[in-house]
Symmetry: C2
Subunit: 356 residues, 2 copies
């Protein structure tokens, strides 16, 4: 039995007090940075703490303060660039503020696992819960649970979010419009859409943006092709779109699917962007390094993650819910979009692979 060589017994606040020649309460004042401690006394305590390698027990502290300094993080879906990046930056921000993050991610956001996850978090007495999930149903399930703690959702759809749920998001609607307007400016008239998964809030907003931009320009609106975020579904739609001779451009709800679409089109002999322009969404790192480099809409997930934490923090401090502004995405022009064959470009087009 390999005994883990921890000190015979971890020191507690009384051990520190004894060593420093003060009362436990003074030690408490020092570790909590409270006033009314003479510098000299403080010094002695600090030295004793260091000497004993004392670490306050979060359990004892939580027991009496009723605050755990732990945040719950729930995320659903196959790990994706967007969710992972948001989560990492949320975690980082939390750590910088000395909050722990109890993470409960799951591939399938079914009600049962979701409830189990929430239960586990609540059982830990997390101070708040943040959900990074694009699934409308997942968010609804969570909102229907009696949480007893604040809830922050990283979710794009306003309709799915209750009044007592705090929200942070991108303006996906405008982002999608931006993308479609770009295609329109290039001269495209028949612009198709491959949408994200059914039940996805982002997919809904992006499709709505596509529809609105076409309507604004009084262009025809064909039914959207329902994808599921996977490259495979993009590929399938790419194959079928190759037979759609009227269409000259397609706005795809995500980069991953867009690459699938491109592959499908190309495998049927349709060239991108000469025959068909393809536009993605997200700006994943790979987008600039495929053939041709993908025009897309960039979302700053790092900032989103940090924003989620700031919002959580201000909610916890009851600072009447900060700005619910929704960050604007940025259009990234690359080589997968061009004027339709025979059309006159209405705008100069950059074809350098890299943006920024």
């Amino acid at each position: 039995m390999t005994q883990h060589d921890k000190q015979a017994k971890a020191a507690n606040i009384f051990d520190v007090a004894r060593l420093a020649g003060v009362s436990h309460q003074t030690v408490s004042r020092v570790i909590n940075d409270l006033p009314n401690v003479r510098p000299a006394t403080r010094d002695r305590v600090v030295k004793a703490i260091a000497q004993l390698r004392y670490v306050p027990s979060p359990a004892a502290r939580a027991l009496v303060t009723k605050r755990s300094r732990v945040l719950g993080l729930v995320s659903t879906g196959v790990p994706s660039f967007s969710v992972s990046t948001t989560a990492v930056h949320f975690t980082t921000a939390a750590r910088e503020a000395r909050y722990a993050v109890s993470a409960s991610s799951m591939v399938s956001g079914d009600a049962t696992s979701l409830r189990a996850a929430i239960e586990l978090l609540l059982g830990q007495k997390v101070e708040a819960i943040v959900v990074i999930s694009d699934e409308r149903e997942a968010l609804e399930v969570i909102q229907n649970i009696e949480l007893g703690v604040p809830l922050v959702a990283v979710a794009s759809e306003l309709a799915a979010v209750r009044e007592d749920t705090h929200q942070v998001a991108f303006n996906q609607f405008e982002g999608a419009s931006l993308a479609v307007e770009h295609l329109i400016e290039l001269g495209h008239r028949e612009i198709r859409h491959v949408s994200g998964a059914v039940g996805s809030m982002n997919a809904g907003e992006r499709e709505r943006g596509w529809r609105a931009a076409l309507a604004d320009a009084k262009l025809p609106i064909a039914p959207a092709l329902a994808g599921d975020w996977s490259p495979a579904s993009g590929y399938e739609h790419g194959l079928s779109l190759a037979g759609d001779s009227a269409m000259t451009a397609v706005f795809v709800a995500s980069d991953e699917m867009a690459l699938g679409v491109m592959h499908g089109l190309q495998s049927q002999g349709r060239r991108v962007p000469e025959d068909v322009s393809v536009m993605g969404f997200d700006d994943i790192p790979l987008a600039a390094y495929v053939n041709p480099p993908l025009s897309t809409v960039r979302l700053d997930f790092a900032t989103l993650g940090r924003d989620a934490f700031s919002l959580l923090l201000s909610v916890l401090q009851d600072e009447d819910a900060a700005d619910p502004t929704r960050r604007m995405p940025a259009l990234i022009r690359r080589a997968s979009t061009a004027p339709p064959a025979g059309a006159v470009a209405m705008q100069r087009q950059s074809v350098t692979g890299r943006a920024r």
Copy 2:
């Protein structure tokens, strides 16, 4: 001030005891599933618990048992498919075993943030720590900290792992050899390598596998081209490799970089696989849906994540460290590899985009 409508006061074990007409100790027995409680009594207690919506306080429990039922998870690097997938499945397995996971991910695995992260986890009295990091230095920093709890590393390099660190990994060396052998069987003689980041354990193992396979076949070994895992670095090397007329195949240490390499080669007019075969590593979801679909080596990150948790569990239960077997990757043949121009294929080659 929107008062969060939690019950005036959460019930504790005495409230339950009173309602059930038993002592608090009997309630404790019931919630911990201990014997020596009459079924009838147990029932009354269970009902009281349900009625009061009683949830045991983890803080109080941890205070007395000295076990938190919380696991620490540290991960470094830009969020990637591999790390994220491993982490998600680790978390899922932990949740199923009713363990909470305190996650601390960071983009930069520098010693300072790493230490802060570990400190935070230790401050929470996690029962064990698992590191999902490919950076040799990160692992070393962590191993040099006096943890006091078991450490499980998801790391491929044996040399970097101390005796008291438990380890779970893929056999990356064999995986890389597999890939290179595939290229050799196709008839390639000059096989280049674009390696992963400096200081990456996976990169080291993969390069070692490449080198060994070439040596075994008595083929020439050119210096490896050092990448950094980013598609951009792959692209740069693809550009320069396009000028290397001797080489007919390149084994790239990751799919993301491999796509960059392909793009670089193609943008210089070199066709894949007709002029150059390209082989990746990881089998990311996109690999099958690019042009051409990427031959690669598949790693089952989901299983890796679950394995990491199983190992952790057996370590916690002192079941003398389970098998340190390293899972074998699987070769996936797609269309980016083919016999070199003019050579006779030594093996039938599948070109269907999808494997499995």
